[in-house]
């Protein structure tokens, strides 16, 4: 059990009532995050509309699994992740981590316990590491925050231990980020997130800035670390082939809403939502023999400031009928564990 590693430092037990077999690690309930758009007049600024980045997301993640979150740019993937790790306050809805609502009023100590177990790896390995700090200090920082009483020697040995786990050498600890390649930096980012033994790691496009040959190294590393440390992943990507490779279950997002949520195999073989169908057909396959019958969507993703009424996908959907622009479909279970928000799913 991960938390036992730091038993001597952590005295609060927040999650006593949590049963890992019955309850999901993370549960998002009708999560909304709206960013206000304001207009400046002479004296006052007035909120004229909202960017509905996340607009009613219903999602759960079970212990030990990888949930892939896929969608096009601006669909709210990253905002969902940022709210889940408490980097942003939600506008509405709640996030339950191990049965505890992380946005309920709590003491600073309790908040730290929660934040320690929810870590994030960012997309850009160039801007997510402080260029003025040595790798040792970058990875040591989480210990300074969460375990200020820990001895320096212990912190240092834990840093070296995690460095070895992500495939870097001891001497790398005394170097600065600019001395590393993109792939190595992403390893440092992963080491920083995993150093304090989190329960859940949110990976926000961890490989999209990397070359394919390096991408494969990082994907394999993440897979090994997940097994070894018994981690739960939420893996955000826009590349469906990467998502298929890493995920146990996949959630497809479009304009701040979950369109389809299902085990990976079902999503690719028994695709239900028209948006997922078009997304799958849009990927160019690296095999010249495959000739795709491609479904070309018309137009662009609508703006999240003024999303279309009803189903957000209805203006581009080839199956859309009158009801689609009037009522918003709910995320229903169309077969065991396979959820789809559509009035006319493909079955």
């Amino acid at each position: 059990m991960a938390s036992s590693v730091f038993e001597e430092y952590e005295t609060i037990d927040l999650f006593a009532s949590w049963d890992s077999k019955k309850q999901p690690v993370i549960q998002l309930n009708n999560l909304k995050k709206w960013f206000p758009v304001s207009q400046q007049s002479l004296l006052f600024s007035k909120v004229i509309s909202n960017i509905k980045a996340v607009d009613g997301v219903q999602l759960f993640i079970n212990k030990g699994e990888t949930l892939g979150l896929v969608g096009e740019s601006g669909c709210g993937k990253s905002t969902t992740a940022r709210v889940t790790v408490k980097l942003e306050e939600p506008t509405e809805g709640s996030v339950y981590f191990k049965g505890v609502d992380i946005f309920q009023p709590m003491t600073k100590e309790e908040e730290l316990v929660i934040k320690r177990q929810l870590q994030m790896v960012f997309q850009d390995p160039y801007s997510s590491l402080n260029p003025r700090k040595m790798v040792l200090d970058i990875i040591k920082e989480p210990f300074d925050i969460h375990f200020p009483d820990m001895l320096y020697e212990e912190k240092e040995s834990r840093v070296l231990e995690i460095l070895a786990k992500v495939g870097l050498e001891d001497y790398h600890a005394l170097r600065y980020p600019h001395e590393f390649s993109g792939g190595q930096r992403q390893r440092i980012g992963i080491a920083r997130a995993l150093a304090i033994h989190p329960e859940v790691v949110l990976l926000d496009e961890p490989v999209s800035a990397l070359d394919v040959s390096v991408q494969a190294q990082i994907l394999n590393l993440l897979h090994d670390l997940q097994k070894e440390l018994n981690l739960t992943f939420m893996f955000i990507a826009h590349d469906l082939s990467v998502i298929k490779h890493v995920s146990d279950r996949v959630a497809v997002m479009y304009l701040g809403k979950i369109m389809e949520l299902s085990p990976t195999g079902d999503l690719f073989r028994k695709t239900a939502h028209p948006y997922t169908v078009s997304l799958l057909s849009a990927i160019p396959r690296p095999d010249p023999r495959i000739k795709m019958d491609r479904i070309l969507l018309e137009g662009d993703v609508p703006s999240p400031i003024d999303p279309p009424p009803g189903c957000p996908f209805n203006p581009r959907c080839w199956k859309a009928q009158e009801i689609c622009s009037q009522k918003s479909p709910t995320l229903d279970e169309i077969r065991p564990n396979h959820y789809c928000a559509c009035f006319f799913p493909e079955i």
Partner: protein, 344 residues
């Protein structure tokens, strides 16, 4: 096809950048050709010289970069010998280029009509009215709806996919013989990428355009091109008809590259990785530039640069050991390869 004289012939070019930390050998003896009307793919990872190739052809390298050796023969003329003014008449009119980032390739303070008609009236003998008509017609042909009105908008009023369409329209308005497309869909979302690829394919067929598609996305190459050149560390390591290279790759790098991409078709297996990183081209590895990462490398690989071995009229590979590689291939792949060879 093989008898036709190539439209563009690149013969053994060396492009270098002179920087404070040393000479970057960005292109190191690159040769390939493009036949008229043929879509050709240039594939490789970042820093392998794909973009530099495009820039070398158009001679738009930054000040510290220079093509020091070799020939770039376009329609029988060596572009490297032309004066600046002569070169200006080639750029755009003969060889056009579209760049990766549709957000920065258009000037934000001019309307689209100005930016398009400027190019057209510079190179073609038309008056303003005619230039505008040509621009509108081009925009319509790349699928911009309501082009007559929207042409008077500013770039920021268009989405990324639309801007890339405008750039394609602007490049093709001069009826070039060769289009160099540098990662034209990399900055776009998959559904938009599919739209833009469809337009590129359509325009290429309609205009009988020769095209050099520079990309790292193997899927895009498979879809659009007929022939492909695989770049690694500033050299062409393998080239040939796209289908043959994809199904039957000969160079260890090409094989490793294909094995390292996760696939939608195949089921979950562990990815093959290439150890190490893409080499820096200041003091690149001696001999074969892939040898430090290659599992087949022997002593000769670190000493001698491998020569191009021609396996067919348009098929070559630069590896000392390509013949020995099949030893560890499993039976199923082997059978598939034999089948394909018979078909070809």
């Amino acid at each position: 096809m093989s008898e036709k004289k190539p439209l563009l012939e690149i013969q053994d070019i060396y492009t270098q950048f002179f920087t404070e930390s040393g000479v970057v050998e960005a292109l190191d003896g690159v040769s390939f050709d493009v036949t008229a009307g043929e879509p050709v793919g240039i594939v490789g990872e970042s820093g392998c010289g794909k973009t530099v190739t495009g820039h070398s052809i158009l001679r738009i390298l930054p000040k510290n970069g220079k093509t020091i050796k070799g020939k770039i023969i376009y329609k029988g003329i060596n572009l490297l010998n032309l004066t600046h003014n002569q070169m200006r008449s080639i750029r755009g009119k003969e060889i056009a280029m579209i760049f990766q980032d549709p957000m920065t390739s258009l000037n934000p303070i001019f309307r689209v009509d100005d930016q398009m008609t400027e190019v057209i009236s510079l190179h073609r003998k038309v008056n303003k009215k005619e230039a505008l008509d040509i621009a509108i017609e081009m925009l319509e042909s790349v699928g911009l709806s309501d082009a007559e009105k929207r042409i008077h908008d500013y770039p920021h009023q268009f989405s990324g996919g639309m801007r890339q369409r405008i750039l394609i329209a602007r490049a093709l308005a001069l009826q070039p013989s060769l289009l160099i497309a540098d990662e034209p869909t990399t900055a776009l979302d998959v559904t938009i990428q599919a739209q833009v690829l469809e337009i590129i394919k359509e325009m290429q067929k309609k205009l009988g355009l020769a095209m050099m598609l520079i990309t790292h996305n193997l899927g895009v190459v498979a879809e659009i091109t007929k022939r492909v050149h695989i770049f690694y560390g500033g050299r062409v390591v393998e080239s040939g008809p796209t289908e043959d290279v994809f199904i039957n790759p000969q160079h260890p790098y090409t094989r490793a590259l294909f094995d390292s991409i996760p696939s939608i078709e195949k089921d979950k297996t562990r990815l093959e990785t290439i150890p190490g990183n893409v080499p820096r081209l200041i003091n690149p590895p001696k001999g074969c530039r892939f040898h430090p990462r290659c599992k087949y490398a022997t002593e000769i690989c670190s000493r001698e640069r491998p020569e191009d071995v021609w396996l067919g009229p348009k098929r070559r590979v630069a590896c000392h050991h390509y013949e020995e590689l099949d030893l560890d291939v499993d039976e199923e792949t082997m059978r598939e390869r034999v089948k394909i060879k018979e078909e070809v």
